[in-house]
Symmetry: C2
Subunit: 330 residues, 2 copies
């Protein structure tokens, strides 16, 4: 039995990190579906939030510029919500090593605050938490299922693991219905292309569209990719499923793709740019996870999810979006 995307007309929804790449795509989709949407986003320059991401929402979405570390703001915004999509996070692996405390504050401490606020002010809310494949660390074998050992190789992975465990704990102990999606590389319109803080692919897109040459480290390394609309589908399916409560689900791309193949496809799609394969820089090698490809059997069978947008099609849509708006994002 597969779940279905819930009827969202009139649903009161809060999206943390809602001016970010995935958060804004979700918020816009929710608003189009008739939900009453608020987003909270701190617009931290190094993170994914960007006011332009909700341009055109025309007052249909309440936008609160506040930090998830701000409990008073959270309390006001979380009260009375039917759904909370918890997408606020620090995503950059390198930044988590340079400043582990900020990563801890956002990815662990603020998550506790969000859960405590909900437990006290709105225990009936349903929460979907955006986790990460980074919690697995270096895979023992591919594809990686949800029961793979958890051995994160950077501070970000450790703190994101704490964040997801808190969500499962509050589900199990307090009955605060929560579930976790472990995202893999997500790409699409509105992604961060200014640098590689969200994913290396963002940086590649900016450089390709500017006709520049970018470096691909290693080249043969395998990754899987999800187009943002497919991730939004998964978030909504999880929100609508009773079965998902207390569960962890991998998202995952249709196949594992060598990075050099992704780079070649991007350049073909953009009709510009070039890449060269270079060795992994020393400071990144120590926190690199090697090949990765998710086993997403669980979410496919339990929630009926599957990615619908191929890498080729998704890259075409993404390049199209940024072709016109690169200077707004770069």
């Amino acid at each position: 039995m597969s779940a279905a995307i819930p009827d969202l007309r009139g649903a009161r929804v809060l999206v943390t990190g809602g001016l970010g790449f995935i958060g804004s795509a979700l918020a816009a989709r929710l608003a189009r579906s008739g939900a009453e949407v608020a987003v909270i986003d701190a617009l931290i320059p190094e993170h994914g939030g960007n006011r332009r991401n909700l341009d055109g929402s025309d007052g249909r979405i309440e936008i609160a510029t506040a930090d998830v570390r701000d409990e008073a703001a959270l309390k006001r915004l979380a009260a009375g919500r039917d759904f909370l999509f918890n997408l606020a996070g620090q995503t950059c692996h390198m930044d988590s090593m340079a400043d582990p405390w900020t990563d801890l504050d956002i990815n662990a401490r603020a998550q506790l605050s969000i859960l405590e606020v909900c437990r006290r002010a709105n225990p009936g809310v349903k929460i979907v938490f955006a986790g990460t494949r980074q919690v697995y660390g270096r895979p023992d074998s591919l594809p990686v299922g949800e029961d793979h050992p958890l051995r994160p190789v950077d501070v970000n992975g450790i703190n994101k693991l704490a964040g997801e465990r808190y969500h499962l704990l509050y589900n199990d102990v307090y009955g605060l219905r929560s579930c976790v999606l472990r995202l893999t590389n997500t790409y699409g319109p509105r992604m961060r292309v200014k640098d590689a803080r969200q994913t290396f692919l963002g940086e590649w897109i900016r450089l390709a569209l500017r006709g520049k040459t970018f470096e691909v480290w290693g080249g043969e390394q395998l990754r899987d990719f999800n187009y943002v609309d497919d991730v939004v589908d998964a978030l909504l399916l999880a929100a609508g499923s009773v079965r998902a409560n207390g569960r962890v689900y991998n998202l995952g791309g249709e196949r594992a793709v060598p990075l050099a193949e992704v780079a070649a496809l991007l350049i073909e799609t953009a009709g510009a740019g070039a890449f060269k394969v270079a060795p992994f820089p020393e400071d990144r090698k120590s926190i690199d996870i090697g090949d990765y490809h998710a086993d997403s059997t669980r979410i496919r069978s339990e929630l009926g999810w599957s990615p619908r947008v191929s890498l080729r099609e998704g890259l075409a849509r993404t390049v199209e979006f940024f072709r016109e708006r690169l200077e707004d994002y770069a």
Copy 2:
């Protein structure tokens, strides 16, 4: 090949949580072995630190009353040390649920500070971290080996997991030699008997010695126990082993013992007190882990450790200690 307890004469050693139950036993042992020992302890009333624990050390041990959250104090104390035994922690499962932030600050944030201080001020130090079997959550099967899935069932377990992962990460990424021991129920002289914040056994001992009746929840539940001197042995073996760097080791008792058997043995040993079996209180049941017994094969084979003090003998020594000093600790 088994490791050996290193020659500690002249070694400069820092013990965090060094006025606590295990920390003070370790510090005293180190001082007796000729090491130059400093301890740092915040003496937080709800934690295990107690000035009496190092009575009689006669100036041989430098005692700093400071919090591991205090980076300046840490920096001064960590500089120039050969070994750091990192035992400071919040141990109470219930307190971690009532105040998850303090648990996070001590068990995760302060651990990052300790590691950052060492990385910058003393990268040659060898660190042994006191972890906990709580990171496993409810065992899938017994005995529980180090590769058992990590599914902590309380905030304390989640934060202690982050703490141990930071230690392994700093070993792997920065070459800051660290290893983790996952302790099970430890008991012995100087344990906290004022309440059940360190282990239920402490409370039982106080009540038995006062001729009172204590409650044993469930009664058939299995636990394993280590006498404190055996834990000190393990900490020293880990410190002396190159092989231990970046490794996790379970400690574990010789056998799994039903709680009612432990209670009966305690009452026999104390010659006082009584117990009655009662059902698990609701608020504890939700964070209880069920039966637990560690598989300690790894530390036995790699470090040559084995517990030498039986539960009967250990309880006798513990009861003897507290018979004379109960009012100092209760």
